[in-house]
């Protein structure tokens, strides 16, 4: 055992990790927010649409779910600008990619939730004279949310971790920060130990927050 752990160099460059973590969170929050809108809109559309629309939405979901995220990131960052006349920064490119990617997963979460809302509740909404839109807003979505919250938490945490892929196009998020420190100090064990701890801790805090929300909603089950 000739290797002695020495964290001093890590602490000296800790701003790379801390700044990286903040950027990771920012990427995740923006992408998940956009992805949630995509997922909700498409899921609501899916359950009320005809066969053609369903097929198109299903194709989008299947495409995204069967292509590795890292490939999509390369495709959007290096591929897309060569085909269409667009210029965007690496972070923007990644947010775009992760939004579309998370949208596909969230469509599935929301769709299964919408389909799990008991028909009797929708009948009750009809019976008191609510219009289709009112039934969606006041009956179907609230129940869907309660049904999907656990799956939603898992998806959110998973998407947060997926921000590490942004390092491959040099977005200075947490994993990229770790790589930078590794290249410049060669303290590979220390830097990845600290980085792992940071991912873990952040993941736990997110999960804890989401579980609180779940508990609040589950009370009404």
């Amino acid at each position: 055992m000739g290797y002695a752990l020495n964290f001093n160099l890590i602490w000296r460059h800790f701003d790379k990790l801390w700044g990286g973590l903040l950027l990771s969170l920012e990427l995740a929050v923006i992408s998940i927010a956009i992805g949630t809108v995509i997922g909700l809109v498409l899921a609501v559309w899916y359950v009320s649409a005809g066969r053609t629309v369903r097929a198109i939405i299903a194709a989008y979901v299947e495409f995204i779910r069967n292509v590795p995220l890292i490939l999509l990131v390369y495709l959007v960052f290096y591929g897309l600008p060569t085909v269409v006349d667009l210029a965007y920064s690496a972070p923007t490119s990644f947010v775009l990619t992760l939004s579309v990617y998370s949208g596909a997963y969230l469509v599935e979460v929301f769709r299964s939730g919408l389909e799990a809302v008991p028909r009797g509740q929708l009948d009750a909404g009809k019976a008191i004279g609510l219009t289709p839109w009112q039934r969606l807003i006041h009956v179907r979505l609230p129940t869907m949310l309660r049904i999907t919250l656990p799956a939603l938490s898992n998806t959110f945490i998973s998407l947060f971790k997926d921000t590490s892929i942004a390092s491959v196009i040099s977005v200075p998020e947490l994993t990229f920060g770790a790589q930078w420190i590794n290249f410049n100090t060669f303290r590979i064990v220390e830097v990845y130990l600290v980085t792992t701890a940071m991912y873990l801790l952040t993941g736990y805090i997110l999960l804890f927050g989401l579980r609180l929300v779940e508990r609040r909603f589950r009370a009404a089950r």
Binding site: G120, D123, A124, T143, R146, A220
Partner: protein, 264 residues
Amino acid sequence: MSDATNASPALLDVRDVSKAFGAVDVLRSVSLQVKRGEVVTVIGPSGSGKTTLLRCVNFLESYDSGSIRIDGKEVGYRDAGTRQRRSERDLAAMRAETGMVFQSFNLFPHLTAAGNIMLGLTKVRGKSEAEARQAAEHWLGRVGLAHKADSLPAELSGGQQQRVGIARAVAMEPKILLLDEITSALDPELVGEVLAVVRNLAEDGMTMLMVTHEMAFARDASSRIVFMADGGVSAVGPPKEILAAETSNERLRAFLARFRASHF
């Protein structure tokens, strides 16, 4: 046809309504009238089309032919002849005039007892929150649940949930109340409290069409009883006549005999 101008004395006028699910005829030319203030009970073996008939009255189910009018207005279609379906907005407005209470309560699980009642009052009737809350409290009081206004459905017993279901329906001040086997999902000891509420409403003159297996209640509370078999109306009459053991209607006699055998 004199139908268009004939303001029928019946509040609910079901004429020759037929409906098939695939190859199965669930309703065969059903006709049935309910006058204002009347309580009409539909009985019959399971699969005889009772629930489907009830669900057609507020157009939770469509039907293939015939006409259903409430207060002279065709329910699901612009007119019975062209059978052009009403717009969703129209349908919603029509449904607001009929209250429905379900076998499985179907309360909105995310809303309190008062919230369940207020939803229709605020969104459909356009009442303010305060007015709706007041009405909700009034009706919860009427069904004996004034103290449960802020309880969620999950915190209520089946009988209490069903009483909220009734309050939710009547708070909309519907022209007619549809009750679909409202005690079938309840434990026996909770049936009485729900039926007591219905009896109260009947005494207040609420027009009701109900499907039930509670024969004693049907006998006591109904103006008339409709016996359905195989999707058709097999007998109609006052309770005493229909529930008489010596009826000449063979199917009804068999149904009642089977019913007595299993319930007493």
